[in-house]
Symmetry: C2
Subunit: 312 residues, 2 copies
């Protein structure tokens, strides 16, 4: 785990022809030092998400190669699916993991975006932390009307021009949104009630959009299979709003409504640091530092040894 590490989670507009998704994934993981963390294709969305991690330059190269393959293999004029999209390579977000900052990822997004335009002639929108206009922080604004509307509006409607490249969609690959964001933790908290309105009320209390925690998106849902209401949460910056703070708030609100938290559930991956922070909070550790954690100490010792070797 020593050294700089970023994640990239590109979404491609193909979720049915798995030979195409294979080809894209192979192009990405063909880059040395890039590890495939996860891969998920959805038939209804007709969309695939490929998660890779590695050193920044290697991940930038992998992202570019994935986009290159997608541009060659996916024809968006014939694409149908329930998920909104503007391009064959629809979104390409970079996420800082170890020893990298959000700013490093903003820079990487700019560099990869420039290559996508220069070498593939696909115009690029920069979003979230990489946005160069405030209205593009929110990806929904970039994607409004999708590929079909964008093809018509680019170059004619005010404010729809790309950040990088000429204002003309690629004929078959559309445009690509390249971004930088922090690691997003997706998790659900189940309540001891089938009453979805309670989950809705709790979601409104904790989410940023209705005055709650700054880094929380949340909504109430009904889990049909178990007939339980749940609060479905996206935590967009767990270092600013810790996981355990949100959990404790949900628990407190649930009690106010006379129900209990039954369980919680992670969707996808969770950084070890979020768990360490939670353990430190609940166990009331006075002195839990990253270097108190055995595995981090080992990684640091290995990195120091490697640096020493290079210096000799």
């Amino acid at each position: 785990m020593a050294g700089q590490l970023v994640e990239c989670v590109p979404n491609f507009s193909e979720g049915r022809d798995l030979a195409i998704v294979d080809a894209i994934a192979q192009a990405m993981t063909g880059v040395a030092e890039v590890a495939l963390l996860d891969r998920h294709s959805d038939r209804d969305h007709n969309r695939s998400v490929i998660t890779v991690a590695g050193p920044p330059a290697a991940v930038g190269e992998a992202a570019f190669r994935g986009v290159e393959r997608a541009v060659a293999l996916i024809d968006l004029t014939r694409h149908q699916g329930t998920h909104p999209r503007i391009g064959a390579a629809d979104v390409v977000p970079f996420v800082p993991l170890e020893e990298t900052t959000l700013e490093d990822c903003v820079r990487l997004a700019g560099e990869v975006g420039q290559r996508i335009w220069s070498e593939l002639r696909v115009p690029v929108y920069l979003y979230e932390a990489a946005a160069r206009r405030s209205d593009r922080t929110n990806l929904e604004n970039v994607r409004r009307g999708q590929f079909e509307a964008l093809t018509r509006e680019m170059g004619t409607v005010a404010g729809r021009n790309p950040d990088i490249g000429d204002p003309v969609c690629h004929p078959t690959a559309g445009a690509t949104a390249v971004g930088a964001r922090r690691f997003l933790i997706a998790y659900n908290i189940e309540l001891s009630t089938p009453d979805r309105s309670i989950a809705d009320k709790i979601a409104r209390t904790i989410r940023a959009s209705s005055g709650g925690f700054p880094c929380v998106k949340a909504m109430g849902m009904l889990l049909g299979s178990r007939n339980l209401a749940q609060v479905s949460i996206n935590l967009t910056d767990f270092e600013r709003t810790p996981l355990h703070v949100v959990f404790e708030a949900v628990k407190r609100e649930a009690a106010r409504h006379g129900v209990e938290v039954v369980a919680s559930e992670i969707v996808g991956l969770i950084p070890g640091k979020a768990l360490e922070m939670a353990a430190g909070y609940f166990l009331q550790f006075r002195n839990l530092r990253p270097e108190s954690v055995l595995e981090r100490r080992i990684a640091a010792a290995k990195a120091a040894a490697a640096a020493l070797e290079c210096a000799e």
Copy 2:
């Protein structure tokens, strides 16, 4: 972090002449792939603890080289200190970390013990999980009377002969206890009272020796500097008796005595897994598996990629 990893925490009978400790540490870390995690010398104890980690064979080699240096540089006939000891290299415990078992460490202890006798002529006692006689599971039995008594009793008093080697102490280096044990978590829980008797009572409730949790050693202490009582805990197998279970028990017992837990404190290092287990407990995660943790997924992906490269 991918691949097999063991820790070794040898204790050497020198804590004042740091040039000697330097020489021992350098001999150990001169082995490729061995990382120095921690190093601590105590003048009163006249003893040093060097913590290293790496692949099993490399750590075994490092342990042997450290013992070899200690045997060459430390003269136990002139050693004075408050900590009990039987040898220049006093104890050499191996601890399983990643992808290794306690049994792997028992085997490693046997191999290194054999080399210590064959090449250095220092007789070896095997202790804890590596013990070949039940009375040597407990290190105190091996170390009774220390170097001075052992020198007289070896070969003459029943039950004092070493497990490996002739029953004669090395003239200047004594004997060495080589063992295998699980990772030990040392931590203290501070109470909102200066009354040490409450900490004593709680310690008696939770520790194995008076009927508490099987993997807990504990005693009450008074923290002079802050005038607070604390329960000082050694957790010898956190996978069997989780950290959070002990913490919750102390909290409950404290409340019964009308006091509160003020804070807890780690001494040394704590494995990430112990923190993940605690976070999973308190956050009520239904599905927290090792592979849900981002860093483990990355390590697994890297290991898989490396294996694939070797196979090609």
